[in-house]
């Protein structure tokens, strides 16, 4: 196993009376491709908010490449190589596709070394994602699927080492979901980034990643190889809500 790039240690996020994330431990090592699944309301996106510095955890620590960044603002996390996408694509609609990607390059990506040629320029990033032709189009005019890609492109612009992808395949057709999964694999294989991927399209995710963590009601209930987790009783219960004997896998 390579260097641990991102570690959440007993992270808890509480909103008033609601505990969204409850004492979650998660480690991401270099070169890993990890999936996070769990029923709605399991706290997956909130965990991402904590991992990227958007929300400060109520308790616990976030360690990025050995440095404790708990409670620091999001731009510090970005400067240390943590990039993320949001569930609903948040592109800068009035700017061109190219300018959107350049934004990350100009800020967090500025002082970071490009770990791969593909992260060196906005052109290269757009080409990698297949958006090269649309460079001058206003981001607001893209189709939802393309906006998702641009979301990823913006994140890549920060020249990250870790990419947190939040439901990038939601609402896509099956073919598009497959294409997304293979893109994510390429991001890890070709660009050398470590990826954490939240997804509801569980089957596609399970086929793509090596390791899966399962969240339920804010707690991590499983963390291991995809095949094992699929058979884990607690996981099956979480999804189906009742005990199922020897079920083949979550729905």
């Amino acid at each position: 196993m390579g260097e641990v790039l991102l570690a959440a240690q007993a992270v808890t996020v509480r909103f008033g009376g609601l505990v969204a994330v409850d004492g979650v431990d998660l480690e991401l090592a270099e070169g890993e491709l990890v999936g996070i699944i769990g029923p709605n309301g399991a706290g997956k996106t909130t965990l991402f908010h904590a991992l990227s510095g958007v929300l400060a955890p109520t308790a616990g620590r976030l360690v990025v490449q050995g440095r404790d960044l708990s409670g620091r603002p999001a731009h510090v996390f970005a400067a240390h190589g943590i990039a993320r996408t949001f569930q609903t694509p948040r592109v800068f609609r009035a700017m061109s596709v190219d300018d959107n990607v350049r934004f990350g390059l100009e800020f967090a990506g500025r002082r970071r070394q490009a770990t791969h040629g593909a992260l060196g320029s906005s052109r290269a990033i757009l080409d990698f994602l297949g958006l090269g032709e649309l460079a001058e189009v206003a981001a607001g005019g893209l189709t939802p699927a393309r906006q998702r890609l641009l979301e990823i492109g913006m994140a890549l612009g920060t020249r990250p080492r870790v990419l947190l992808l939040d439901e990038v395949a939601a609402g896509l057709s099956e073919a598009e979901v497959e294409a997304t999964a293979s893109l994510i694999r390429r991001v890890r294989d070709e660009l050398g980034l470590s990826v954490v991927w939240i997804e509801h399209a569980v089957r596609a995710l399970m086929r793509c990643v090596e390791r899966v963590a399962v969240l339920h009601q804010g707690r991590k209930i499983a963390d291991g190889l995809a095949a094992e987790v699929a058979r884990d009783r607690a996981v099956v219960e979480a999804y189906l809500g009742r005990e199922v004997p020897a079920a083949p896998g979550p729905a």
Binding site: R84, F86, A94
Partner: protein, 313 residues
């Protein structure tokens, strides 16, 4: 985006306007001064508030602070120092207050900046009474009208020029990113706290410098005169009419509006404010397209599917 052409235009305009004190009558010169003042105020307001969507209604506070720096210092200090001092005091105040109030969302921020005018006015009134034993101040020493005009011209040119430069710079893009989607911009590496405070302070600098420069038009000033909310109101109205997302718009609109306001004020001393108020409302309600550059930015919680519209500039 090439900045050379707009900058050349600004400097050129400055050169053209420079000889006015020797060409225009006193009344027209005074009018020109108002136009320049509002051009500077509106351009620097738009530079920050237009880009970030943090609507500042604090222009009166900064302007007034600058005016008071003049009141305190004009007898003792050289003129350039007074004007620069006005700008710096306003900027420092903005940085200090901004560090606290820029943490809140837009609507709260706007109301709080609105209250700043009151707050500063009370503080200055109190301070003057307690430590200087006076209510208002007489400005006995004042530079010649030509000097005042040229000073204001210089500051206005600087304000507009800086606005142009910022717009095409990395800092300006950070401001625009904050206006488009602040949280997103932060995850892409923008130190939003610092950028906002810096932008706010920069904008305040010009408001303060203009206040310092223009204050000598009055021979006697007291807090209600210089901390007048109308200045903030007019600035916002001008910027909105002209298009707060641009630089040229507020400048052009400043000229039109200064003239329009002068005309109205001579005729209807209080009612003209009502007219302007109605104008602002009508503008916001029926010409949102005219101010599209300010408002048609993506909100943070947009759940609706993106439309196929080509986005405006």
């Amino acid at each position: 985006m090439s900045r050379r052409a707009p900058l050349a235009l600004v400097l050129g305009a400055g050169a053209v306007l420079a000889p006015m004190p020797w060409l225009l009558s006193d009344f027209l010169l005074s009018l020109a001064l108002s136009c320049l003042m509002y051009a500077g105020l509106a351009a620097s307001w738009a530079m920050f508030s237009g880009a970030t969507n943090y609507l500042s209604l604090a222009t009166a506070a900064f302007f007034g602070l600058g005016a008071y720096v003049t009141a305190w210092g004009v007898a003792a200090l050289p003129w350039p120092a007074v004007v620069a001092g006005g700008g710096l005091v306003a900027a420092a105040f903005a940085a200090l207050v901004g560090a606290a109030i820029l943490r809140v969302r837009g609507a709260y921020f706007a109301v709080l900046t609105f209250g700043l005018g009151e707050l500063v006015r009370h503080a200055v009134t109190y301070g003057e009474k307690r430590y200087a034993g006076t209510v208002g101040r007489v400005l006995a020493t004042a530079p010649s009208p030509a000097t005042v005009y040229l000073t204001v011209l210089l500051i206005a040119v600087a304000a507009v020029g800086v606005a142009v430069l910022v717009r095409g710079s990395r800092f300006g893009r950070a401001l625009a990113g904050i206006g488009a989607d602040e949280e997103r911009a932060e995850t892409l590496g923008v130190d939003t706290r610092r950028v906002k405070v810096a932008g706010f302070a920069l904008s305040a600098f010009f408001a303060g410098a203009l206040g310092a420069g223009v204050a000598v038009r009055w021979t006697y000033i007291d807090p209600p005169a210089v901390f007048n909310p109308f200045i903030g109101f007019q600035t916002v109205l001008i910027a909105m009419v002209g298009g707060a997302g641009t630089v040229g718009g507020p400048v052009a609109s400043a000229v039109v509006f200064s003239l329009f306001t002068e005309f109205l004020r001579l005729r209807f001393p209080y009612a003209y404010l009502i007219v302007l108020g109605v104008l602002l409302i009508a503008l916001v309600l029926y010409l949102p397209g005219g101010i599209a550059s300010l408002w048609e930015r993506p909100g943070r919680r947009r759940a609706e599917a993106p439309s196929a519209e080509a986005a405006g500039g």
